[in-house]
């Protein structure tokens, strides 16, 4: 089974965000693998371990995203594809998906996996749009994958604790729900092995892909507060005492 996993590199969870127009200042912050994508990668590695085949990590962005591809290779992916694009943050979901689809197309993978959404832009559309672009069936918010020959039996999460089983033929595109598995750490052996693994670089020009944006981020900003928050100060003990008093006599909820 040949599996492509789309992995995004995003600012670290605790990175202080400084806004710059329609994006953020990248100079002073660290980056990491988008957490929802790490569940998709883990699922791909597990499918390969069970059914054999190959796992390809595909990531788009500037040079720095190679680090995230290497992390995927260290965890067990077989090779990487780096879609080099310094301005990828300007792409709308459709443009990003067209680019990723162009990079994935020639691989003729049985399965393309994405995470649920990215922790930066959070469009959550990539998997569905790649399925449209590549004319493949898809399913999203997947909590379990069972391979039965040329068919998948999937457990899809719905809202409020409901689930649904669905059948989906291969080849297909799936968006994986976070929490589907327990993500592995890279081993030292894996990190050493990754050094010999190939990362191919492709570009908009080499793939002949272009797209016109359908939407534009005009600006990003820190949201204005709609609720007045009363902040309590002091030592931990003082703050705890104040809070109990407020809850008891002001809010009257305890």
């Amino acid at each position: 089974m040949k599996i492509i996993v789309c992995i995004k590199q995003v600012p670290s969870k605790d990175a202080p965000l400084a806004i710059s127009g329609s994006w953020i200042k990248e100079s002073d912050i660290g980056f990491e693998m988008n957490e929802p994508d790490s569940f998709a990668l883990e699922e791909a590695l597990r499918l390969k371990e069970k059914h054999g085949g190959e796992v390809i990590a595909l990531s788009m962005g500037p040079e720095r995203v190679k680090q995230t591809i290497k992390e995927a290779l260290a965890k067990g992916a077989d090779r990487g594809i780096h879609f080099a694009d310094d301005k990828f943050f300007e792409l709308d979901p459709l443009g990003a998906s067209k680019a990723l689809s162009a990079a994935a197309k020639n691989e003729n993978a049985d399965l393309i996996l994405t995470g649920l959404q990215s922790d930066d832009q959070g469009f959550g559309q990539t998997g569905v749009l790649m399925a449209a672009e590549l004319d493949r069936p898809h399913a999203t918010i997947i909590m379990a994958i069972e391979v039965n020959g040329a068919n998948l039996k999937l457990k899809r999460e719905l809202e409020a604790g409901w689930f649904q089983h669905i059948e989906c033929p291969l080849p297909a595109v799936l968006s994986i729900q976070s929490g589907i598995n327990k993500v592995r750490y890279a081993t030292l052996k894996g990190i050493m092995a990754a050094k010999k693994k190939e990362i191919a670089t492709v570009s908009r020009e080499s793939l002949g892909v272009s797209s016109e944006s359908t939407q534009r981020v005009e600006k990003i900003y820190v949201p204005t507060k709609t609720k007045k928050t009363e902040f309590l100060t002091g030592t931990p003990k003082e703050m705890a005492a104040k809070l109990v008093e407020k809850l008891k006599f002001e809010a009257r909820v305890i």
């Binding site: 559309q125 569905v128 449209a132 898809h138 649904q164 929490g179 005009e218 507060k225 928050t229």
Partner: protein, 327 residues
């Protein structure tokens, strides 16, 4: 401006977010001198169509087909593409549900258009419609506008608008018009099977008046007893954001948020929860919200009544003690 709202129902019940989006559409249309229509898809849906007809809409588009009895992304995309091509709306609005996430981007792409998803609001700037959506897990918001010609596609987050503000139809009933769509079984590639719930949950958090919830800030499962001590001293139920349940530190039935339970207790105490939107939609209806977090910029403080910026590991034991004293 002509707006089409695509509504959602499952197992004979409305998804109430449909009416939040309908309210949003009425507000947008009201300011732009536009009109709103509402579509409902399925099989045997006349009661749903009639229900929509009692709202202030120009018409209800009732899209009936045997192959739409159960939701499939292929079926919905093929049917709605035909509906949109015949109704020719300028703007198509959806509630941002799991189902909408599954098909709406593809529907828009099939018409060569993009979708602005998960919006929390909109503004009209000199006649231009700007949609507001969150980025960086709610730490920032973005103004996003459409480029090129319509139809445009956007979805609104659950809770972004109030369903009780939907205007009723002035004269009692809007026309319900059936839309015939061409759809055959071979076009639908995925096969939906049974709907189910996991083991029935022993706790019903929706009924709990007081909830103490933990997030990533709790760091390790061995720290959870400290939060449980606070909950015990208060007589509260313990709950968590998704990552905690994903890790298996607390059972899934204790999860609050879009994929877990939606609660509206008297008091919601958030310990080390940053306030990612997936969590906030499940608890923002709480009467009093207290947030304790070391990051003063955490989005949870946006909705908190009382905030404590500090280390939960220092505050939890102090709080448990003070609560005991106050009993």
């Amino acid at each position: 401006m002509k707006i089409l709202v695509v509504t959602e129902h499952r197992q004979g019940k409305w998804n109430n977010a449909s009416f939040e989006t309908l309210a949003a559409a009425q507000q947008i249309a009201g300011a732009a001198n536009g009109s709103v229509s509402a579509a409902v898809l399925g099989k045997g849906i006349s009661a749903f169509a009639d229900g929509l007809g009692t709202k202030a809409v120009a018409e209800v588009l009732s899209v009936e087909h045997d192959l739409l009895a159960d939701y499939t992304p292929d079926g919905y995309c093929i049917a709605l593409k035909q509906v949109i091509e015949s109704a020719r709306p300028d703007l198509v609005l959806f509630p941002h549900t799991y189902q909408v996430r599954d098909f709406a981007p593809k529907l828009a792409a099939s018409l060569g258009k993009g979708m602005i998803g998960d919006c929390v609001g909109y503004r009209s700037e000199g006649g231009k419609l700007v949609f507001v959506r969150q980025m960086f897990q709610g730490k920032t918001v973005a103004d996003v506008s459409f480029l090129g010609s319509g139809p445009w596609f956007a979805s609104f987050q659950a809770g972004a608008f109030r369903a009780d503000l939907v205007q009723a139809h002035a004269s009692g009933k809007a026309p319900v018009n059936g839309v015939n769509v061409q759809l055959n079984a071979a076009q639908i590639r995925t096969k939906p099977l049974e709907l189910f719930k996991e083991a029935k949950s022993a706790v019903d958090l929706t009924q709990a008046p007081l909830i103490v919830a933990i997030g990533r800030g709790i760091k390790a499962p061995e720290n959870i007893p400290q939060a449980e001590a606070v909950a015990r001293a208060m007589g509260a139920e313990i709950a968590a954001s998704r990552p905690i349940c994903d890790e298996g530190w607390l059972p899934m039935e204790r999860q609050i948020g879009s994929s877990g339970q939606t609660v509206a207790p008297k008091l919601y105490l958030a310990l080390g929860i940053s306030g990612a939107i997936q969590h906030v939609v499940g608890m923002k209806g709480a009467r009093t919200i207290v947030a304790i977090n070391k990051d003063q910029n955490a989005p949870i403080f946006e909705i908190a009544d009382y905030g404590v910026v500090g280390d939960i590991f220092e505050i939890m034991p102090a709080l448990a003690e003070e609560l005991q004293k106050a009993k």
